[in-house]
Symmetry: D2
Subunit: 451 residues, 4 copies
């Protein structure tokens, strides 16, 4: 029986060529699996809607707000196709329609092709834990690509089981983080599966891919290489390009798509985000799924230029790289969530949680989504989010998401203790005893150290 | 021989009254000590200059840039007097001239009065370590008041030794953090000294203080209570006031003095900050002391509305409080310093340093500046800053300090490894082996967990 | 209506006197509540059995091993009464029979008296989490007293609710940890209750207590003070006494009761401990409850001199104290549990768990059993214990509990990967790539640092 | 010009064969470098002394106790040759005399051969930091082999510079930790050098090595493989062997050489260890170098069966392995050092240091001795050891090193605060206020959580 390979398929040039390339290298049959986590983009001006078949919709969203009305946009989108190929990880966005993707994969030689709409699953199962963890790698980056890999991996492994595949393939290069995230995820879910990587393991360079494509007359446009290497999903967008590799260069305005220029004067927007146990459940009082919360805030915060990140970052593979991100919804949600935690989480738990958050972010960045430690940290984080319920009012403006009000039935802010008005209930007499014992150990040390 | 008390003196109503109040309660002589860490404020429009005698200038600033030209403003200031009394901790700003302060203290009954200009000392010895630690309590607050207390304590203890005092007094209330910072600091430097606190220990309420003042005809204006309770120094400004105690209320524009409204359109400012071993040593190529760096960035970043913070905060004494801060220079410097660390600090050191930073910030917030643990963390932080040398270019605009470029001879960013251009030196073949072993322990766990 | 006070009652002199003392100080009625967590002791030679009524037995033990046969010893004990009064915390062991305790409390003026057998509850709800956490404060002390306080507090609060009390009282002094553990526990379970402490708050010294006792002719022997201050329960025993306050003095043999002299030659004992999800469920193949596991190992490990601890310890109240403990069962169980974790817990989870364990131990030592952070850490620890199932064989001898074998169906030890015999499955070729990328970030740093 | 390779040479079969093997594979000249860190062993009964030339003695020992008399044993040793080859890492002990080693290396084809006595350097520069860090990987293993690798690496790199080598080679296999420690160390000291590993990279199996040896008639006995794979140095000894790969099997007595059977009754030994700033400087009042302290305690604690460790361990390369160690001196010294820290280090510093110690141990185990993070942690640890000065009295007996007394001029134990005798200086009244504020945040949380 012929061996089978499940390939993470994007519909772009690289993975389309990879179908045949892998088949030749391994003599195996290739099953193409496209998993939509929003690669079609979250650009402003109505481009966000990507048509989806209903096949992949096995995931029931909005478990955090069962009453919420799910108004998913499904109509054909008028979004302009965007430059999204590049050489960072040789990934490209999904073509707009699932049927197009399937057809293209089969035309390129796949024996099977599947397209799954995993956007709600991605939002509920991957973005939401990141929000609860206030996950910002290096205090900045909301893990956009790092969150999508395990979501895709889950579908790849399921497809491998379904189609009897023994190998999984992806289109990443050998110097980025994403290869690790794919492969560490795959062995954690299916330790018996093997991974192959055409670019890294079979020397499938861009030039060779174009030559292969033209030689086989594959139905893919072999356009000149875009200057931008992009990865995007509903939680954000990453951009790499040659001139940014000089870290003294500032980003130019044309690389952004999820966010408008924050420097341009415009009217401020105000939003009230409602959380229940750490999950966003309503915007301005209207129930939303997590996916809707992210998408609507992508639009609203993006319109205000919020969520641009430009940083030098430590990759798992040991090098520093320059990265530019846009994540308007993610940044707005995490900012709001942090402040609601400030109001509802007890001090010592809050202090410890910061350490847990840092480790959680590092683990996820490092591709350890399915690791035992990540699971145990999730237990901590979920427990800590139990009371993170209430409203945060934010002003979105000029590139900043600024909290201006908090309101919670779970609040630990006690006006009567905190107020400086007469009638406060704080017992100041206790303070002297507190300070005496609180500082006793360092006082004893001082006696010695000063002797 | 009569016992002596050293009182942390501000020149305002509360500590002026406290001179006599303490004398009556303890039958001791009171020595008033005013330590200027910039309580006169860093307001925009030329108000920042506070006249200083040269008496306190024993501290040699700018050890980090010996060549820098120190151009300290010493002329009389045209700054408008600001509302700075309040009842948060019953502290007020220093009157403008040291002679005025001394005279007032003596007129209120002090047997001695001293005024020290500790601004350079504060910047070099307290703000700079905070910059090196990227110190942001709860990821937000640059520890403005928390940093000033130990700086003041050092002078109080020195004065106690000089004047043979056995007691130190301060004007804080019994429900804030500052009482702990004062007293924990004092016992750590002088475990034999005792602390008394008129407001907390001798029931010196605001109303009684006013009555005392009027009864003794002390030369202090007993104006109606300002609605604002303010603490400020060169590193920032804290505001509390009644309506902010409702945490759903947004701050109003009139509470800010170090920062202009970021929402008002204006021209962006661009600055290049040069660091040496973690310390800011030049702005736009012109050498500066740390104090000058903070003050100039207070002005420039403040003019762009940068550094406003509005948060619910966990106090050491166990309650949550609502705090509004402005710290334009601090936020600009820490933002720049963080990114220069991203470029120059090795990954594992950088990851661990984040934990150290968090603990450092908690310790300083909690009044443990002089504790053995703080000292040992400083050793770590200084070592980690050894290579944090280079230039950061930032755009200051619309409330945001945005890094746009980095340049460093100590950079660990390696273009040849990072670039996706042809000719990169990264060995992709190593990645496969790396991933295999990197993910092996969780792969083995998966085999079991999935069995 | 008269106010009521619930008093943590031991049956000894101090708390017997406290009944009347509190009544006089507060004009309240006193309800005496004795909670048996094994204060009767775990001495060798059959002394361990303490008769218990069945009244307090509302707790269903052994939920971790429902099939286990519960063979609780209930017969009258021949145990010699032991010196257990002292002035450390003025606590004494329970008299042997619940009826005696009740009668004595009523005779001393209590309006109600209750005795609860909380030993299974203590073992399952407090000792077991400590075993799962490998909890050793300062890497040494298995938290014996610290674990018992919250167990007792729970009963005190329940009694306060049942009897309509508004105050809770305990017999600790003002310089130990236990006062904090009682009171922090009480406010965490019942923030409306108030605590009073006769020794600390009402100046009830030992001498005054004896005088009070004699004046009222209370039916308590006012024997001369024992030189030993002891706290003991099923998990261990703490001893303090005057000559140990000189930290250069070695403990003498007569202070120990749970353990025999390890230096005396005797036959070794071998035991196989079976764990399920971190809980001990069988000894040498015979099912046990957690309480039975602790008690049987107290006897067997105690007979071999295991579990003696002599240390200088950091108290929560800021001082260092010299403590001597015996905890044979606890040390044997934790040692076994640690090694089973070595076999069954994935590396990164295991590494992180060590930090969590340390913080857990500090929290519990510091009286924060019922705190939100402790709860969240429990979530982590339970998750990490999910696969800690298997057998540990130990030799108990000469003061040492030495693991000699491990066996587990959840083992992550993979013979085929680990063996150096021919036929191993480890892919050595992967190592080179692993090392290259693993050491890349410090290699890049080295290039700079050595330049 | 011919390329040169520096080979870490042991004088045993594997590295002797490696000289020619590498020469053939690389066409380079091989320089053999033997670095003595005590591979000759620390066995009981006078075997410890290994003759050394004075050539390598460039290191000045005992900088921590300049007055100490250094009485190094240099006479010929009567030690029986021990089985020390094995296949764990194919390393063998050094032949006894440096001249023999040199001669053998040259006879096997080396163009140069060097032997360095690095034992004092190893003790002072590697074992001492481990003692200060109380370094126990997984709370058990004192990092014996992990400490020796960077000590050896330093000499290899120096030799590479001296002899103009561009490559470094070692004899480890591809599945252990030591290959990582060698190679990560080498790139950290000399990022331009390349590593080759005959066993891993050039398929030099044991059988092929024997065949090579016999074919070339190398002057090495090709004895049958010993059942034991051993690595040893002055800080301890590691044993692996086939039957221990079944983790249910107990170790047998014959595998131990540094320790006698602890179960055999014998007289106890008592020792007083004096530390200065964390370093052992005297035993029973007699000045010692660090090396002497370790060696003398190896003998004395080893005679009492102290320091045997049997554990399942997490290797850096992702697998669990069964390891048996003996480290009598290391365990005695660390135990004493820990307790002296308990007496002399302030609580919060001590608590944080435990985390730092854990990370330090992991880093060193993981081969990151020369990494930036390790350096920064050293800064913390040295600062924390500043006051770790004083005497620890221990009883060595029956496999246990038990602290029985502590004495220090830097003690933070305050008898007057700690004593329960009358006349103590602790202010119990402060406790109530302390507890009120200490437990306030969890009390407020309780109010909410119980609502």
């Amino acid at each position: 029986m012929t061996e089978r390979v499940v390939l993470a398929y994007s519909g772009g040039l690289d993975t389309s060529v990879a179908i045949g390339w892998i088949a030749e290298e391994t003599s195996a049959e290739v099953v193409a699996v496209a998993v939509d986590v929003g690669q079609g983009g979250e650009g402003l001006g109505g481009a966000a809607g990507v048509p989806h078949s209903t096949r992949g919709a096995q995931h029931a969203p909005s478990r955090h707000r069962p009453k919420a009305q799910v108004a998913r946009l499904r109509g054909p989108s008028s979004g302009t196709p965007r430059a999204r190929t590049g050489h960072r990880e040789h990934r490209t966005g999904l073509p707009r329609h699932p049927l197009v993707i399937r057809k293209r994969a089969l035309a390129c030689g796949a024996v099977e092709a599947e397209v799954a709409d995993a956007r709600d699953e991605f939002a509920d199962g991957y973005c939401l834990p990141a929000i609860k963890a206030n996950a910002l790698y290096m205090d900045r980056y909301p893990l956009v690509s790092a969150l999508s890999r395990p979501a895709i991996v889950k579908h790849l492994v399921a497809a491998a089981r379904k189609h009897g595949a023994t190998i999984v393939a992806h289109g990443c290069t050998g110097k980025g983080n994403d290869q690790v995230r794919f492969e560490a995820g795959i062995v954690a879910l299916a330790p018996d599966l093997r991974c192959v990587v055409p670019v890294r393991d079979y020397a499938m360079t861009r030039d060779k891919a174009i030559a292969f494509c033209e030689a086989r007359r594959l139905p893919i446009a072999t356009t000149k290489k875009s200057p931008y290497s992009i990865d995007q999903n509903v939680f954000g967008r990453a951009v790499e390009t040659g001139f940014l590799e000089d870290i003294w260069n500032a980003p130019t305005e044309d690389i952004y798509e999820y966010t408008r220029n924050p420097a341009i004067p415009r009217e401020a927007d105000e939003v009230v985000i409602t959380f229940e146990a750490g999950a966003p459940v309503a915007l301005d009082g209207r129930p939303v799924t997590v996916l809707q919360a992210i998408k609507q805030l992508n639009e609203r915060a993006g319109a205000q230029g919020i969520g641009r990140i430009d940083m030098v970052e430590d990759r798992l593979v040991g090098i520093k790289s320059r990265e530019v991100y846009e994540a308007p919804g993610a940044i707005a949600l995490i900012t709001a969530h942090q402040e609601l935690e400030n109001v509802t989480v007890e001090r010592e738990l809050a202090r410890y949680k910061r350490q847990v958050e840092q480790r959680w972010g590092e683990l996820v960045y490092d591709g350890q989504w399915f690791s035992p430690l990540k699971r145990a940290l999730d237990g901590f984080i979920d427990e800590a989010n139990g009371h993170v319920t209430g409203d945060i009012r934010m002003t979105l403006h000029g590139g900043r998401a600024v909290v201006t009000g908090r309101r919670s039935q779970s609040s630990l802010y006690d006006f009567d203790l905190a107020t400086y008005d007469t009638g406060d209930t704080f017992d100041q007499a206790a303070a002297k005893g507190f300070i005496d014992l609180y500082s006793l150990s360092s006082k004893i040390a001082a006696r010695r150290d000063l002797a």
